[in-house]
């Protein structure tokens, strides 16, 4: 189809701005109403240019509509690299008869998050474990930039900070109490650590519907 508009390149012979027609088709805007643009409604030049543009742009719109999914291994690969980087890296240590068990901070955080989300009114949760009182900053986290293997030891007691989004209509204080109980139980079950305190921040409320 030879639809090159006749005119000076910016305007059709009828005087209509070609760019306006390109924008209308590219943006998939509904045709202008005849009342607002009486010229477009009756102009054969504009009709021909619009028809050609719609044919040219149809595969562009098809491509834009194609669902795009990031490859599944992107997340795995990125998180593996992130965990190798030296940030927030302390370990709790649980002594045993045949050696000690080190539990990474992110494990405590993940257990706390999942435990909080077991409480029915909790829609979303985000946990963070840290060491109990009496530890110096150096013992807890090591110096910034140190690789994870050189961080200090955190002992067997942890403090958990958890942020939750709670379903609208719940009594916040009782939800927070259930979150504390559940986190302490799960942290003990899964890690053997003692939860010294659970600080709950209700950071958002969501509509359960």
């Amino acid at each position: 189809m030879n639809g090159v508009p006749e005119g000076d390149g910016d305007r059709l012979v009828c005087g209509a701005a070609y760019d306006d027609l390109v924008a209308q088709v590219a943006d998939r805007r509904a045709p202008e109403s005849p009342a607002a643009h009486p010229h477009l409604a009756g102009c054969v030049h504009c009709a021909a240019a619009l028809a050609e543009l719609q044919t040219l742009w149809a595969p562009v719109h098809d491509l834009a509509r194609e669902p795009v999914r990031a490859p599944a291994d992107v997340l795995t690969s990125v998180m593996a690299r992130v965990r190798e980087l030296p940030r927030q890296s302390w370990y709790a240590v649980v002594p045993g008869e045949r050696g000690e068990t080190r539990i990474a901070a992110r494990v405590v955080a993940a257990v706390a998050r999942l435990a909080a989300e077991e409480v029915p009114a909790v829609m979303l949760a985000l946990g963070r474990g840290r060491t109990g009182a009496g530890m110096t900053a150096e013992q807890v986290a090591g110096r910034p930039g140190r690789p994870a293997t050189e961080v200090g030891v955190a002992g067997t007691h942890v403090v958990v900070d958890v942020q939750v989004a709670v379903a609208l209509g719940s009594r916040l204080e009782s939800v927070a109490d259930r979150v504390r109980t559940q986190i302490a139980r799960r942290v003990a079950e899964h890690t053997g650590l003692t939860t010294q305190a659970v600080n709950v921040v209700v950071a958002d409320v969501t509509d359960p519907r």
Binding site: L56, V68, V74, L75, V78, R81, A109, R128, A203
Partner: protein
Amino acid sequence: MSPTPSHAESSNGHESGWQAVLLAAARAGDEGAFEVLVRAHQERAYGVALRLTDGPQDAQDVLQESLVQAWTALPGFRGEAGFGTWLVRIVINRCHNQRRSWRATQPLPEDATLPAAPGAEAVVVGQQHRDAVARAIATLPFDQRAALVLHTFDGCTHAETARILGTSEGAAKVRVHRARRALTERLREWG
């Protein structure tokens, strides 16, 4: 229960509600929060990378490097834009740099910078038609291509396109406009 956030960014680009909580936690070093943010925004970032690189493998490489860069840069991110917008900006910069370094190390003969125009019969149906469009977009200058991808493929307004590209709204409009005209001409030549 899935920790999927209820929404992405508000209209002014700032995070609100749970997204803001996640962002603050990730900035403080919480890997789990960062993972939730990545899950929420990786499809959009990959979609942009896919249209600004030479194929899925390059797009995946760009996305992975961009996400690691985002993690390391998070402590300095002040949240002036939403996380998704910020991530797309990182992706676009990486795509741009990748093209520059590729061109610097592998100079091509002048006539090879544009892919050969497929014959009329080659673009008649389905996959070939789609590939022809993808190639046509790939021949646009990078600044036009980025503006077109954000506006037409990512659904950004001119203002959002401008914010991501670090330019004025007027300049973004001009780039989108030029890209559309150039793409229309190319599709017409090839069709």
